[in-house]
Symmetry: C2
Subunit: 311 residues, 2 copies
């Protein structure tokens, strides 16, 4: 009998759900809204109902379903306990057991960024590898560490929080986390714009980047046009990210880094600037670590969530 | 029947061996010389012979022995492959399988620093924890990462090489690894002396540290006497180490850091300066990470090696 698993990516606005076979092929994909009323108490019953309905619609037997994995926007430890999820109004509780209580099948739970790393390992940019660090460059900077094919959750689910590594002593602006000089302040979408604006303010060099509502995409487009000021920004970006990843390599020594998130759409040029400084600062044994772009985009979460069930 | 496991800590001069019961109590401990002749080809047969002799001497039956764990001075991956050990004249080969071929019992192999981390987790400073980072401050700086009670080896056995995290952009002197500005250059035994000499050269302040053949112990002794110059050195030490550990916490989020190696004999005062800066730079969720001193000293390796067999 062909077996299936469900992957759930729980976000602040929508819940993405996917049905996969054990080979990692996606069979079905759908969304439901995230109901935030009543302190997010409807969310898990809604998810369970949606999965059970899907099984009924498809005429799936209970024995065909291996289980449900869920990635959630908060720190989750190896037991499935989530230590609060601000965007959902959630406090601390065992997410795995709670969702399991609504479903007659095994459940696994993880942090969304960690789960996405597992998805990229299974069917994305790091397919074929077992030791992977995912770096997500979006509005913020997240990450996930996979070792030996499994998520490394950390003691309180905070492993892979690489956006908050301190990388700059001279920073005066505060990060969202309250710290100063976090990696996120330089290599997230807003971080890239911050670096660009600082460069443009430092002198009156001509640049394609001198425009209203500058975005990270504008900056990388200018880099691709060999805009001199933009190239300086790209060097600075690569210096921050490459150096941070060199430090990470000394700690967990992955086979490959996978770079994802909106900023990574800049593509190979972004990897080039990052790898230049990675190689400069990396320990000898880690200098050959691979770099690749994420492939699954917004689906990484449902892939990784489903993959958790197969462990 | 009571069961036993052997732990082997392979060094460049001596091989330490220990016999443990499954509760982690040490039953016997001995040493043999490391024979470096013939490209180190005698080493594994010597170890096997010594273990078999010990079993015979003690009248141990084969069924009483669960196996042998070995920690070696080189990178070792999850399959037991060692990627060279310069001090032993070894190239790349499967250490686990090779030692197993001389012994009729299961063998596990790991890098010596990683294995020591497991030892401290089992019966040392981190007893009772499962997610541990060991930092060894000796002639060099080594480290080991334990997650979920198991060693994290990394893709090429280079996980936990935290002495070579880049922490200083303004360094002109080279580290032994060829890099500039590695953590090891500031917090190893020679690193502490480097920081002290630089402080003493910067001005002509009076200090207990103005003496011939200054050692790291002299520096920490001066710190304990509230020597003003030494206190500045301790702040700098804590800044480098605390900041680096804050970065490590963002990656693997351990429950506790264990600080070992000769320099750590300075004791709690060293932890105080380190934790001060750790808390300053750590991500919120990791700020409560514990700090403890290593307890097993030079025996951490045999403890951890034996513990590998029980996994």
């Amino acid at each position: 009998m062909r077996k299936y698993c469900f992957g759930v990516d729980l976000g602040g606005t929508t819940v993405k759900l996917g049905l996969f076979d054990t080979e990692g092929d996606i069979v079905d994909k759908w969304e439901i809204p995230t109901v935030l009323e009543h302190d997010g108490k409807e969310i898990l019953p809604d998810i369970a109902r949606s999965i059970l309905q899907k099984m009924e619609m498809r005429g799936m037997e209970r024995e065909e379903a291996l289980g449900v994995g869920i990635g959630a926007p908060g720190p989750v430890d190896s037991e499935g306990t989530i230590y609060g999820a601000v965007n959902l109004g959630w406090g601390t509780f065992n997410l795995k057991k709670e969702l399991q209580s609504f479903l007659n099948m095994p459940v696994e739970a993880g942090n969304d960024a960690n789960v996405a790393a597992l998805g990229e390992m299974w069917q994305g940019g790091a397919r074929g590898y077992q030791d992977v660090v995912l770096v997500t460059l979006g509005t913020g900077v997240g990450g996930g560490v996979v070792t030996g094919g499994k998520i490394l959750p950390g003691a309180v689910g905070a492993a892979g929080e690489i956006g908050h590594m301190h990388v700059e002593d001279g920073e005066a602006e505060r990060c969202n986390c309250g710290g100063c000089g976090c990696l996120e302040q330089y290599v997230s979408a807003t971080g890239v714009v911050r670096l660009a604006k600082r460069k443009l303010a430092a002198d009156d060099c001509p640049s394609m980047m001198r425009k209203d509502n500058l975005t990270a995409k504008d900056v990388w487009d200018a880099v691709k046009q060999n805009d001199a000021a933009a190239l300086e920004v790209a060097e600075k970006f690569g210096w921050y990210l490459g150096k941070a990843l060199a430090g990470i390599a000394c700690v967990v020594n992955p086979e490959t880094f996978v770079i994802g998130g909106g900023v990574s759409r800049a593509g190979d040029v972004l990897l080039d600037f990052t790898q230049k400084y990675f190689r400069k600062y990396a320990f000898n044994a880690c200098r050959g670590t691979l770099f690749t772009l994420a492939k699954l985009g917004n689906d990484a979460g449902i892939y990784g969530a489903a993959r958790m069930v197969l462990d």
